[in-house]
Symmetry: C2
Subunit: 281 residues, 2 copies
């Protein structure tokens, strides 16, 4: 199977519409139809059921979509890392990615400590939307990532645990519930007039709901001060300016584990050095 065929298939499988997929691929619809039919013939499997309003995935198609995305990421990673090997000749650099606005204090400590190492290399930090870190590791845009379990899926990567912490509720100072010594997640999620904010999905869109759309942590903390929303976050959020905010411990929230993750079988000495530094924090 060629990556071209796989890219075509993934486009159609994501659009569920041959014409739109062709448009997205910058080609005409008929060659795409033919390529898909040829792929199905070669695999000996129907990948789509053709409907009058588009196409639908078969079981085999679902499998190929899931596995094919991984394969395409792997090919892209191979290409990207090869390019970087030559670009970086003599001046190696490391790309670290993390969720924007998370673990800021930890990251600062890590980068400081690593920079002090004798064999440290330049580290480029890429802050990206929640959920994108794993994809960046998989397709080679990043060499190391800071992830947070159970929110991020770390399967398929090598990891070291950096920190385990409880979650807390963040309320406007002076709110009646502030008097509570602790509360449950269910209570924090259903405070009258304080809907939890909505997090973006992987594609950047927001689910329906009453809460504000969360983009930037400082802005949302401001919303909390204004009494417009409440938050459930790892306790390290206290490192942010806390005037006007009240923190209430949660009794039943999942513990958040901050990990440093890197691609399996990684042989980069730079990655190893950064991970070693992180483990010593």
């Amino acid at each position: 199977m060629e990556t071209r065929e796989l890219r075509y298939f993934v486009a159609v499988a994501e659009e569920l519409h041959v014409g739109r997929a062709a448009q997205r691929l910058g080609m005409a619809q008929p060659p795409l139809s033919r390529a898909i039919a040829q792929l199905e013939r070669r695999l000996g499997a129907d990948l789509f059921v053709r409907t009058p309003r588009g196409v639908t995935l078969t079981d085999a198609g679902e499998t190929l979509l899931r596995e094919g995305r991984v394969a395409l990421d792997a090919v892209e990673a191979a290409e990207r890392r090869t390019r970087r090997t030559v670009e970086a000749a003599g001046r190696p650099a490391l790309v670290l990615t993390a969720k924007a606005g998370a673990s800021g204090e930890l990251m600062a400590k890590l980068l400081d400590a690593y920079a002090a190492e004798p064999d440290a290399v330049d580290v480029e930090v890429v802050l990206s939307p929640p959920g994108h870190q794993a994809a960046m590791l998989r397709d080679g845009r990043a060499d190391v990532a800071i992830l947070h379990r159970p929110f991020d899926d770390t399967s398929g990567f090598d990891v070291d645990v950096l920190m385990v912490e409880e979650q807390v509720a963040i309320l406007p100072a002076g709110h009646p519930l502030t008097a509570r010594a602790s509360m449950t997640v269910a209570e924090a999620s259903s405070i009258p007039d304080l809907p939890l904010p909505r997090w973006p999905d992987l594609d950047g869109s927001y689910p329906e709901g009453p809460g504000p759309e969360l983009r930037d942590l400082t802005q949302v903390l401001q919303l909390v001060r204004l009494g417009r929303t409440a938050l459930v976050l790892p306790e390290s959020v206290r490192a942010n300016p806390s005037d006007g905010l009240a923190v209430v411990p949660l009794t039943d929230a999942a513990r958040v584990t901050t990990v440093i993750a890197w691609p399996p079988h990684c042989t980069s000495t730079a990655v190893a050095g950064l991970v070693r530094t992180a483990a010593r924090l």
Copy 2:
């Protein structure tokens, strides 16, 4: 990058000789030369240095070889698993792979217990040479594997620990050292006239040395009985017939962890069921 280019590159990188690689690929040498040159141009990186006696890998080439193998495995896995999805329609089956001759007792218990589950599917067991299990998982020939740390590299897979055990030395009954209550790995490796057997490398060849070439556990145990070799193995080897054998605990050997491993992000309910059964053993 197309998988065809990647296959060409890997062939040349493994042979370090364009002509031989072309032969292996079933094509003439000139198109292969050109394809490699074109790949280098597109990547903007020299992958090989041409020498009068063949070619050598550059740093970029090393990177692409390492990453490219993974990518090719991923593509092959996608293809193979898609084919299996349709073949197995209605009668799903699971392929489990393990080192030949290892963990026999555990495997028997696992397969029995799983077969008794209400939603069990057919399990095909593929016994393959040591070190091949991970590759079979990566390229889709198997869905689940039994691996042994620290011998096998489990990075890149999801795993559950099944068993942790000590290693022991196996000597011919009546050997003077049998009287010892325990010994070290160094001692077991240097017994006069009892060289440890040689294990095959990943490509099936054997390293140089005095010990016998190890192929089959029962045969090697027979060699121990005959006073021709000694062994260092996990203690579960005691499940084999032990007449004529003496077991001496080792004080400093690494603990062996038996794990069940499966590809990351696996959604197969059959795999999940087998793993759940294994965890309950």
